[in-house]
Symmetry: C2
């Protein structure tokens, strides 16, 4: 597949201490699926300069796009800007237009903390933030967004129009009222027939009974439809309920 | 700090496609914080043998413990067992006691799919599953658990007594009714004074107003208390509301 790929890096001690539950990865995953960008890896890492720089250095080479969330606020633990500047070997530079926007917004509350959010790696392109002004930024294929979910979403929607789109991935699913082990042999047989369909099975409980959700995904609608028919057919032969 | 460390690997295409929202990382994070194991990295990766093997190979060297979730069921996309066997260069072996337990439980529903869940890397120690029988397993410092959150939690509680505990990490927090930029300079000043206290600030909204939660964490209760007093003191000087 020649679809573009991406990785996500969630930056923040609060995610690893358990204080905060991530609400960004799943949203990015769904939006990337919508536009045919294959999301292949996510990492959650602490506010640690060496770790952030090493992680971004590795991932920016492996994937078409790298998206980060977190670490772009005004406090001492917000170090994404200095990490990206270090990674790309450029200085950190204060952006005049952002300072101006802050002055108009913060007025007498303007201070060094606010100004820190006007600092970006030199040469970065800013990512607009219509909710709370302080922008995100892109440097080459690394896109740095806020960690606050509402702001992250606004930034992501600002980024998406500029991304290369992949072929759309279609999916079909069927809920089976039987455990995974009942369908696993037949399901695997179908998977082997359709290498261009990604087939997954996911257990769930219904009225205390083990059930299975089967999900088929492909950018080839003909294969997807055939594989789906094969699944429906073996479910009939097995005599299990499904819908 | 000599506390043990850990990484978590969430295995499953469904997490990266956005179909499923992870419910395991945060739980593991909180339980590791409880017992003083430092959770330093999480990765979310697809059901891809090369990726799983390479990820585990890297992480098992870097951390005291590696915990995986997902990929231990009966279907073709459940490949954690074969990946761990490949990583440690051991064969996959059917476990007789597990087969016996399955026979008693599944009776006439016994089949190859069920039996697959009795296969483990030779030499692995099994992790009990009181909910749905099929065990997880440990090989050296790699602990492989189910992806279904309820089952994962049971397995984790089974693992925890055998883990080396670190010194407990204590925390104090204060909610400030002002934005991060208002407190960032003073907050950083305190952080610089207390290198053994990890200080983070997290924005939240209250009645539409930007507020900030300050969190201090340390295994040194004296430092923690002093740093906290310093924070309370500067909040008073700044004249911001807090609680």
């Amino acid at each position: 597949m020649t679809n573009p790929t991406c990785a996500v890096v969630l930056i923040g001690n609060e995610l690893l201490s358990g204080r905060t539950e991530d609400a960004n990865m799943n949203h990015i995953a769904r939006r990337m699926a919508d536009i045919g960008v294959r999301f292949l890896e996510c990492r959650v890492i602490p506010d640690d300069k060496d770790v952030i720089v090493a992680t971004l250095r590795e991932l920016k080479e492996k994937y078409t796009y790298v998206f980060t969330t977190g670490g772009i606020g005004p406090t001492h633990d917000d170090i994404t800007v200095e990490c990206v500047a270090h990674l790309f070997q450029v200085p950190v530079e204060r952006n005049a237009a952002t300072v101006k926007a802050f002055e108009a917004y913060y007025k007498e509350r303007m201070n060094e903390g606010v100004l820190k959010m006007a600092d970006f790696p030199k040469g970065a392109e800013l990512i607009a933030n219509s909710l709370s002004i302080a922008p995100g930024f892109r440097f080459e294929n690394v896109y740095c967004m806020a960690g606050v979910p509402k702001i992250m979403r606004v930034m992501l929607e600002g980024i998406i129009p500029s991304l290369r789109k992949g072929s759309e991935v279609f999916s079909k699913s069927v809920d089976v009222y039987a455990g995974e082990s009942v369908i696993s042999a037949e399901f695997e047989r179908v998977q082997k027939q359709f290498s261009d369909v990604e087939m997954g099975s996911y257990p769930f409980a219904f009225e205390g009974k083990g059930c299975t959700s089967l999900v088929l995904r492909s950018d080839n609608t003909a294969s997807l439809q055939q594989a789906y028919q094969n699944v429906i057919s073996f479910l009939g032969h097995l005599g299990v309920e499904y819908q």
